[in-house]
């Protein structure tokens, strides 16, 4: 199975229309390979985005430079996936 080493999930809070369009600009850039987990068009409801490891720096730079408020909800995606795998292996052995 594909691996997600170093990938993280960001929660981005958009507070106005301007910030929504900035976020859309970010999400649309193909080279960053972002994956929307949860989108929302209504203000006050966050957008969750899976950020590949190679895009962490440029994405953080963009968010900070544009003044977009964000937090990291999943710091180590691969660790969660590994745990899930272990549980399934354990269950199957059971």
């Amino acid at each position: 199975r594909g691996k997600f080493f170093g990938d993280q999930v960001f929660r981005i809070n958009v507070r106005n229309g301007d910030e929504i369009s900035k976020l859309n600009e970010l999400v649309k850039s193909d080279n960053l390979k972002l994956n929307i987990w949860k989108s929302s068009c209504s203000l006050g409801h966050p957008v969750d985005v899976l950020v590949p490891a190679v895009s962490l720096q440029p994405v953080e730079f963009f968010l900070k430079s544009q003044g977009l408020d964000y937090s990291v909800t999943i710091e180590d995606l691969q660790a969660l996936l590994d745990k899930e795998d272990e549980e399934m292996q354990y269950n199957q052995e059971q």
Partner: protein
């Protein structure tokens, strides 16, 4: 835990294990449950529903419970399997489900996107779409919840095959969607359609494709709020309630909007746990608590349908 033979309902399972357990449930409760093939997937996997029926005749008023249409949302398929076992375990014991099944049939589709689900186990855990091929594009799959004939290719969907919300070449282009549509239209007497997704802890009703209010919005909102309250009563899990377009975003081509526009009044979407801490990777130890609370919400809706047949 409700384990039969060796199926642990508090764990995530492969498609094969899920299909085997569906067969096992039908075998354990032959007078109540049967496993019915309603079609196949793009990669030619069978699509099975569990039909729960206590009465004769093929056109009894019916409820459709849909799960797993977005393959990475594993708590959806797992909750559906727990719900299947709950229905057969509680029939004859719990007055509510017993009376619902006296009046209605329930059809449960635990894995509405089998190819995508297998792909999450073998290649990419975060796969969402189907696995259909698009001549002329390197990208694979359609978002099966943008492929229904409800304002198809409208807002909130993309015509780009590489997009996660690609609506597909035409409505019902995905054989997985068409199989369900054909089955429900042929049956002709469905009164309720509920689609289980994750995550965000939301309970929503039409419309998704427009911000306009659905004709039955007041009733659906009242039922949804009662269901969310029942769900929260178990362990305090808070849900937001509203129409999809006003609660999250406008999205055309969704299953629930198609159901509603085709005369199935009681149409709801659940977004199950959590609110983003784990997202699609909800730990297995939350499967049973999630399924138990969801059941209280589902039961509330199904009781209302039972008492308001039209």
């Amino acid at each position: 835990e409700r384990s039969s033979n060796n199926f642990n309902y508090g764990a995530y399972h492969s498609l094969e294990a899920i299909y085997q357990e569906m067969d096992s449930i039908a075998g354990d409760f032959p007078h109540l449950a049967s496993r019915v093939k309603i079609g196949h997937s793009f990669e030619d996997r069978p699509m099975y529903v569990l039909k729960f029926s206590t009465g004769k005749g093929s056109q009894r008023p019916a409820i459709w419970l849909n799960a797993g249409i977005h393959s990475r949302e594993w708590i959806s398929q797992a909750t559906a399997m727990w719900t299947a076992r709950k229905i057969v375990s509680d029939y004859g014991k719990d007055p509510a489900i017993t009376s619902i099944l006296k009046k209605m049939d329930i059809f449960l589709l635990p894995v509405a996107n089998p190819d995508g689900y297998v792909h999450t186990h073998t290649e990419n855990r975060l796969w969402r779409k189907t696995r259909s091929l698009h001549p002329g594009s390197p990208c694979i799959g359609v978002d099966p919840n943008r492929n229904w004939n409800a304002s198809f290719a409208g807002r909130g969907a993309s015509g780009n095959p590489c997009s996660e919300v690609y609506h597909g070449p035409h409505a019902n282009s995905e054989v997985e969607v068409k199989s369900v549509v054909d089955f429900i239209q042929k049956h002709g007497n469905f009164k309720c359609f509920i689609d289980l997704h994750s995550y965000s802890q939301l309970l929503m009703y039409p419309y998704a494709y427009t911000a306009k209010e659905a004709p039955d919005a007041d009733e659906l909102d009242e039922v949804a709020r009662r269901a969310a309250k029942a769900l929260a009563s178990l362990s305090g899990t808070q849900y937001r309630v509203g129409s999809t377009a006003t609660t999250v975003y406008q999205a055309s081509g969704s299953s629930v909007d198609w159901a509603y526009d085709n005369g199935i009044k009681y149409a709801f979407t659940f977004e199950l746990r959590d609110t983003g801490h784990y997202g699609f990777l909800l730990p297995a130890d939350q499967i049973i608590p999630t399924a138990e609370e969801t059941w209280l919400g589902l039961k509330t809706i199904m009781e209302h349908v039972r008492d308001h047949l039209y």
